[in-house]
């Protein structure tokens, strides 16, 4: 458990956070730029000396009124957005730098990290010659070699283009599932958060706005304004059932089968799939002659009027919750109410590859 009760004043806002964070799996710290999320991470790491208050981890005080544990003594692994690899050392030198200072602390071996992150071909190269994605992989490897008790990641993918992000995300998923290191993951990307994080903390203007399991928050109609109506969407869990000859992948969900564009994962792989609220269509009766492939029975659990012409509908789909964003007019015409049985319709192609992540079985 990481316990925070800290404040730090800035010219235009004050970061003020009183929060306990269970150190298990990935916890996302989500917010727009300027919300204070990176600063919060820096305070935890001990890099913001002006911060006041308390930081403690599992009963050990890192900072309070009288004590301040130096950053290098906290046992934190830190992955910077700009990687901060040492330019005067090779990739191997950068990894050794961490390894030499973590002797006897029971961290992973160089071989394990090199294998896990496919760093073998990069070892003799200089950081200046690496692509953004390669640099970030080295940065992650270097942080792991310090044998950290917690890994802090500050927007590790923000500086990368979509292709590079897609290249790194599977490594992060494997890291989450295989290394027993809790991760605090700062991001402003809902796609990354929904793929990686078990829990999330939403920051706005230096304050914690929401905190809870990612799946619950993303399925909460009240939280939609935080994420924005276009980005809002719940996560459903699924399992790869098989690959079809026409390029589709069949997935089983607790609410029924789902056909999605080809997913590169073996049958049996557990997935979490983010479905954008605006991609879901509702019907009172089972429609026929429709091009959309996925028509699943669901029950309305909540209706929430938004600002403007939209309504957010929360649906129960087997054991998962789904959000749909429709117009007020449609809700009125269909006379939608809580408890009503409806059909949720989803175009297969509406689900992009970035919305699908692997998860431990």
């Amino acid at each position: 458990m990481l316990t925070l009760d800290i404040s730090l004043g800035f010219p235009d806002f004050t970061l003020q956070v009183t929060q306990s964070i269970a150190l298990q799996g990935v916890t996302a710290i989500f917010g727009r730029s300027g919300s204070g999320k990176s600063t919060l991470l820096r305070i935890i790491a001990g890099l913001e000396h002006r911060a006041k208050g308390q930081v403690s981890i599992a009963g050990t005080v890192w900072q309070d009124a009288t004590r301040f544990v130096a950053p290098e003594k906290r046992g934190i692994g830190y992955v910077f957005q700009d990687t901060r690899l040492f330019p005067h050392l090779s990739v191997r030198g950068n990894l050794d730098y961490a390894l030499r200072r973590a002797r006897g602390l029971g961290g992973p071996s160089l071989d394990e990290v090199v294998t896990a992150l496919d760093l073998g071909p990069l070892l003799t190269r200089r950081p200046a010659g690496l692509s953004g994605g390669e640099k970030q992989r080295v940065g992650i490897g270097r942080a792991l070699l310090t044998a950290p008790r917690v890994l802090l990641m500050d927007e590790p993918l923000a500086a990368l283009d979509e292709a590079r992000k897609a290249e790194i995300l599977p490594y992060l998923e494997r890291l989450r599932d295989n290394a027993a290191i809790p991760i605090l993951y700062v991001s402003h990307s809902l796609a990354e958060v929904s793929r990686l994080a078990r829990d999330m903390i939403v920051l706005r203007d230096g304050q914690v706005l929401r905190h809870g399991p990612t799946a619950d928050l993303l399925a909460d109609p009240d939280a939609v304004p935080i994420f924005g109506v276009r980005d809002a969407g719940a996560i459903i869990t699924a399992r790869v059932a098989g690959h079809e000859a026409d390029g589709l992948t069949r997935c089983d969900t607790s609410g029924g089968p789902l056909l999605l564009p080809r997913i590169n994962a073996a049958p049996g792989t557990a997935l979490r799939i983010r479905i954008h609220a605006q991609d879901v269509i509702l019907a009172r009766h089972q429609p026929e002659g429709l091009s959309a492939l996925n028509i699943l029975p669901a029950t309305i659990t909540a209706l929430k009027l938004g600002e403007g012409p939209g309504v957010i509908v929360q649906l129960r789909l087997g054991q998962d919750l789904l959000l749909a964003r429709i117009t007020r007019r449609s809700a009125r015409t269909l006379d939608l109410r809580e408890g009503m049985a409806v059909y949720a319709i989803l175009k297969s192609v509406a689900v992009a590859a970035g919305d699908v992540g692997e998860t431990p079985a």
């Binding site: 890099l47 130096a70 950053p71 290098e72 692994g77 830190y78 700009d82 690899l85 040492f86 730098y97």
Partner: protein
């Protein structure tokens, strides 16, 4: 033709070398503080360290003479303690040279530290490196060019020192008679042959030092600072 006395050359090299080493030791923390401080006193400190750049060496030498003379509290205390004077001595020249060449050490180092920034230091701290470890393993290699520039400039600037030495040290062979004073004296006594020789030696030596530095500098892998 008799060879001119090369004593002033060795004295000058010794003075420049010692000054350079002393400046690296005291200039590095000053440059570090200037690079990273948010204190409102920073402009004052910057102006003070830059003063030797603009002050005529005679003015600097005059104040040092006043400060170090046996009649001043500092010079008096030194005399009581050691029985020697700070003025008209090699030690006095070292003190004068350190102040005279201070900006030539501090400014390149400050620039190098500023362009290095806190980023690499924070990264090193997150890899369990303590303050001295960070300085040794990250700061020095990443600002090596800055250190090289600072060393060469302070060394070379001390080589050419004249005004401060004249005011503070006079012309004592083996003690304070540096090469520029010796050349001046040769010219005064219309001994152009020896003036030529010493000047030529200094010219060639200075050129070779700079050539060496610039050749080495080109091969540095990291170009921070």
């Amino acid at each position: 033709m008799d060879l001119p006395d090369l004593g002033p050359l060795w004295l000058t090299l010794r003075l420049a070398g010692i000054t350079m080493l002393v400046l690296l030791v005291i200039g590095t923390p000053i440059a570090w503080w200037l690079a990273f401080t948010k204190s409102r006193l920073k402009p004052v400190a910057e102006a003070l360290t830059a003063l030797p750049l603009v002050l005529p060496p005679t003015v600097l030498g005059f104040y040092l003479l006043v400060l170090l003379s046996p009649r001043s509290p500092l010079g008096g205390a030194w005399l009581d303690l050691t029985g020697t004077t700070l003025t008209f001595s090699f030690l006095g020249l070292v003190i004068g040279s350190v102040i005279y060449s201070l900006p030539f050490t501090v400014q390149p180092l400050q620039a190098a530290f500023e362009s290095l920034g806190r980023g690499p230091l924070e990264a090193a701290a997150m890899l369990r490196a303590g303050p001295f470890d960070r300085f040794r393993s990250v700061v020095i290699p990443m600002t090596a060019r800055g250190f090289l520039t600072a060393s060469v400039l302070s060394f070379a600037h001390t080589l050419g020192e004249f005004g401060v030495v004249l005011m503070l040290g006079g012309n004592i062979p083996g003690q304070t008679k540096v090469i520029s004073i010796a050349i001046y004296e040769h010219v005064e006594t219309i001994n152009y042959a020896d003036a030529h020789l010493l000047s030529g030696v200094l010219l060639v030596f200075s050129f070779l030092v700079l050539l060496l530095v610039y050749s080495v500098n080109r091969r540095f892998p990291v170009s921070v600072g």
